[in-house]
């Protein structure tokens, strides 16, 4: 993680506010309950919004630390499960090739 010089919150503060607002909406409650069978947890978005604003206003080191920790935890959560397949280093070689001639002729 970069030090205070040149660092800024990973998302604009408005993005944290929008995520918190979406998380707390009735519609999201319904979606989340339908998918996960429990109510959504929105408190972390609120904390991140507060940290973001604190950074914007006071360049607080604690706010920076808290935001980084929170976002890293989000990234880690997405990497919790091992992938079923191996990722490619480059896209399939034949993606852009023309279709086989016999299909074109049909």
């Amino acid at each position: 993680m970069a030090d205070g010089g040149g660092w800024r919150p990973p998302r604009p503060c408005e993005a944290y506010r929008a995520e918190w607002k979406l998380c707390r909406s009735a519609r999201h409650f319904l979606h989340h309950y339908y998918v996960h069978g429990e109510r959504p947890a929105c408190e972390q978005w609120r904390r991140d919004l507060a940290s973001c604003r604190e950074w914007e206003e006071r360049r607080s080191a604690e706010a920076q630390r808290s935001l980084c920790e929170s976002e890293r935890a989000r990234v880690q959560a997405t990497r919790k499960h091992a992938l079923v397949w191996a990722l490619r280093q480059s896209p399939p070689a034949d993606w852009h090739l023309p279709l086989p001639q016999e299909e074109k002729d049909q």
Binding site: Y33, T78, W85, W95
Partner: protein
């Protein structure tokens, strides 16, 4: 898709055809082409969902070594992801199918539709298909690439796109 090196060209990567049965579409990995069944796609909403579903297969083909024809687990994984992320299993769509359920019903739908999709393209028993889905479900249900979340509607899709556009700033500052 473009960011992954597989820019999509409508003329090259899509084909509208008449299909047997009630299949809505498919992804042909051998030709890198999405097939849309013009005789079975009912309306614009259905079309949007089918295109999204098949693009998820195309995206998986682009970013990973998916052994479509030789590894049932790979096929199962992509079908779980497509059912999960395309809107196939939205509450409204399930109600239209007369499948009523709320608490965690989305996951039941994803499992069931993934199994149906596998059975549509593989001559195997339902039990074998179900076993493959069960084995990969935990990993593949929670793989929300490229969205980072399940895009339930346009708002979620917009937020996902915003995060994608912000990715450089994001990873540089965590």
């Amino acid at each position: 898709m473009k960011h992954s090196g597989c820019a999509v060209n409508k003329e090259r990567h899509f084909s509208c055809e008449d299909c047997n049965g009630n299949v809505s579409g498919g992804f042909d990995a051998s030709t890198s082409q999405i097939v849309l069944c013009q005789n079975n796609i009912r309306n614009q909403s259905h079309m949007n969902r089918v295109v999204t579903h098949e693009l998820i297969h195309a995206f998986d083909h682009c970013r990973a070594h998916v052994n479509w024809f030789t590894d049932l687990r790979h096929l199962a994984c992509s079908e779980v992801r497509a059912a999960n992320l395309s809107g196939d299993c939205s509450l409204v769509n399930e109600i239209f199918r007369l499948h009523f359920g709320l608490k965690q019903h989305h996951q039941t739908c994803v499992r069931d539709r993934a199994i149906l999709s596998i059975l549509a393209v593989r001559n195997i028993s339902k039990e074998v298909a179900q076993k493959a889905v069960d084995e990969v479900f935990e990993s593949c249900f929670n793989d929300h690439e490229p969205f980072g979340r399940i895009p339930h509607n346009k708002t979620y899709a917009r937020y996902a796109h915003r995060d994608f556009q912000n990715r450089d700033r994001y990873y540089a500052n965590i």
